[in-house]
Amino acid sequence: MVKTVLLFSLSGLLIFSYRAKSADIPSPASPLPDPPNEKAVSDKGIGPIKEVKLGSIDQSLVKKGKEIFDTKCASCHKLEERYVGPPLKGVTKRRKPEWIMNMILNPAEMEQKDPIASQLLSEYLTQMAFQNVSQGDARAILEYLRSVDEK
């Protein structure tokens, strides 16, 4: 019990120090911005993606998504087993497509403000990295994850 409390307070400290490191830095001309009041009002997460229209699975997008996943995601995520991050099989059934893309594109803010993402951080303790992907790349990764869950 004592150990758990200790671990939690330590992890709190650690998370705090990471936030400071990866926080968005304002431009020198502008004063520090007030923290945005954006709350997770929906299960779509927080970030640039507001609406995703899903059609039937696009195989060429799946192929592109798998390539990106293998280089930029697979170091931390496996499909079937817990690794650095959670296993991703079934994620498209668990979460909204907008949430998945916002997590890929905006992980730091998601971990701070989205209740599910911040819960996952406290469980796994390694911050999800932004891997320099475009919105198009994130959409392709989503398509790949959908194809995995269709099987």
């Binding site: 992890s11 650690l14 998370i15 990471y18 490191k21 990866s22 830095i25 304002p26 020198p28 001309a29 004063p31 520090l32 293998d70 280089t71 930029k72 697979a74 170091s75 931390c76 650095v84 303790l125 390694t126 911050q127 990295a129 932004f130 891997q131 320099n132 992907v133």
Partner: protein, 660 residues
Amino acid sequence: MLGKKKKLLIGGLLGLLVGVLLVGCQQKKETMRTEVGTTDVASKVYVPPGKYDEFYAFLSGGFSGQVSVYGLPSGRLINVIKVFAQDPESGYGYTPETKPMLMTSHGFIPWDDSHHTELSQTDGVPNGRWLFINANNTPRIARIDLFSFVTKEILEIPNTAGNHASPFITPDSKYITAATRFSIPIPQKDVPISSYAENFKGTLSFIKADEPGKMDVAFQILMPGFDYDLAHCGKGPSYGWAFFTCYNTEQAYTLLEINASRNDKDYIAAVNWKKAEEYIAQGKYQEMPTVYYHNYWDEKKHMAFSEVKKSVKVINPKECPGVVYYLPTPKSPHGVDVSPDGEYIVGNGKLATVIPIHSFSKMLKAIEQKAFEKEVDGIPVLKYDAVLHCEIQKPGLGPLHTEFDGKGFAYTSCFVSSEVVKYDYKSGKVVDRIPTYYSIGHLMIPGGDSTKPWGKYLLAMNKITKDRYLPTGPELFQSAQLYDITGDKMQLLLDFPTIGEPHYAQAIPADLLMKNVIKIYPLAENEHPYAVKAEKDAKVERKGNEVHVCMTMIRSHFFPDNIEGIMVGDTVYFHLTNLEQDWDIPHGFAIRGSDNAQILVMPGETKTLVWRPKAPGIHAFYCTDFCSALHQEMQGYVRVSPEGSNVPLKYYTGTPITQK
């Protein structure tokens, strides 16, 4: 910039603070100008947490061999750029990728003495693209890329000893200068030192600088055997000329302190490099055999390559009239500085009691009218009175260097009397002076040697520190001082320690530079031959006694993290690729018994550590740069077996893979 309201608020708060602190202290009504700690001064250098400095300042590291980057006005050290010295912290100069950068005709050189930083310019204004710096001891010039703050190119300068008058740039960045401070036989010869006058020569070099990866010695000018000390290039009307100071016109070769200080005047060499180009085009040069290295960084391959050059074009002023003239200048001149409008040439005579200012237009007239007092080795010496604009009377003792504020004033450092003197260089009138602590060498005003100085601040780089900081034994860091030069009177704002011995510095407004600075190396563009861009591609391969480990790192594990089948006698190359694509997430790599430093690998970068295991057993390696909550878990093992063992090569993270 702070808003007015904020300034008032901060000022008020600081005032309150200081007020509270001063309660009970007897305060004099009149504060001395040199007294720091007033609210006014504090607010001028205070950069609140989370805010940026106004200027990037690049200070040479002197005998540290590197370049230190400071923010001004705060005086905060924000980076150290690795240039001429090995750096065990990052692996610079230890890794196979970076070692070629330090290759010279003398072999691998792990250290140098870097003196003068110089920003690239467009139309005479620093453009934030590159920073050049000279190596004084084993003569070289480096180009630092200011998008990544990484040394991208180093060119050795042949026929040179003590490359001090370097790397001063033309307003269009076409050329940078180099020169021999110490004259030597050219080409080298085994002769008695006492045959100096007969055998020793100097060279002035013009280095092509405007194409990255293509630096080269355009041409050299063979000069009489004096000591060529500092330089600056002309601009505006004097564009196409460059000016070099020289001392030791006595041609002393021992006890120079006395023997080279006898003559009342030495010279500034005025070089018409445009005319030199014409002579080159006409073929009036000698192609002299020599050996020098050109090292450049391949940005895609993440590694440096060396090429050896075998000859250089040399011009002899005797055969090329009109290329060089000597301007007599009292006495052992050190710095030579050209006013922003390109008309005035300030000679800083170390031992002179005045500061002479030459006029470029008078110089042209004197050349036209052949107002020569004599010739030295075919180089006409112009009459002092014919080229002199004015002499600054009683400036201070030991004037060394001059910078300009763009408002008609020049600022000269005076080493012996430890002060900066401010004067109107057109009228010759001294208007202000202020002490420095102590023995100032170079000084720097942002843009102070350009056509459009930004002014505002002056940075004094002092040679003696003594009692400025908490004592640290015999060795003290050198002190820098920041002054406000916006008013009629200079005001001391800040003291801060520096790394090595900053000689010269340059500064540039932050907003001109920071928008271009890169944050990561994109993995997709990484063409390092041993890069692996996905964990599934990581591998270990044996080639005879060489083992290449192509390893990935990401928060917070290595792939592979267990390796077996290494033997004593192997040379193991750990090629580490950092798979992160997020700003400021480097990973480090160290292994027990590494006699090759460690490596710090930036996001998307590949770097190599070479390791020669000396004894059988299990050796641990780990990440040295705290990367996540599970950083302490970022570790691995290498099993080393005796030479000639048959332990199979095996590597994995989590699941074993055996080499097919």
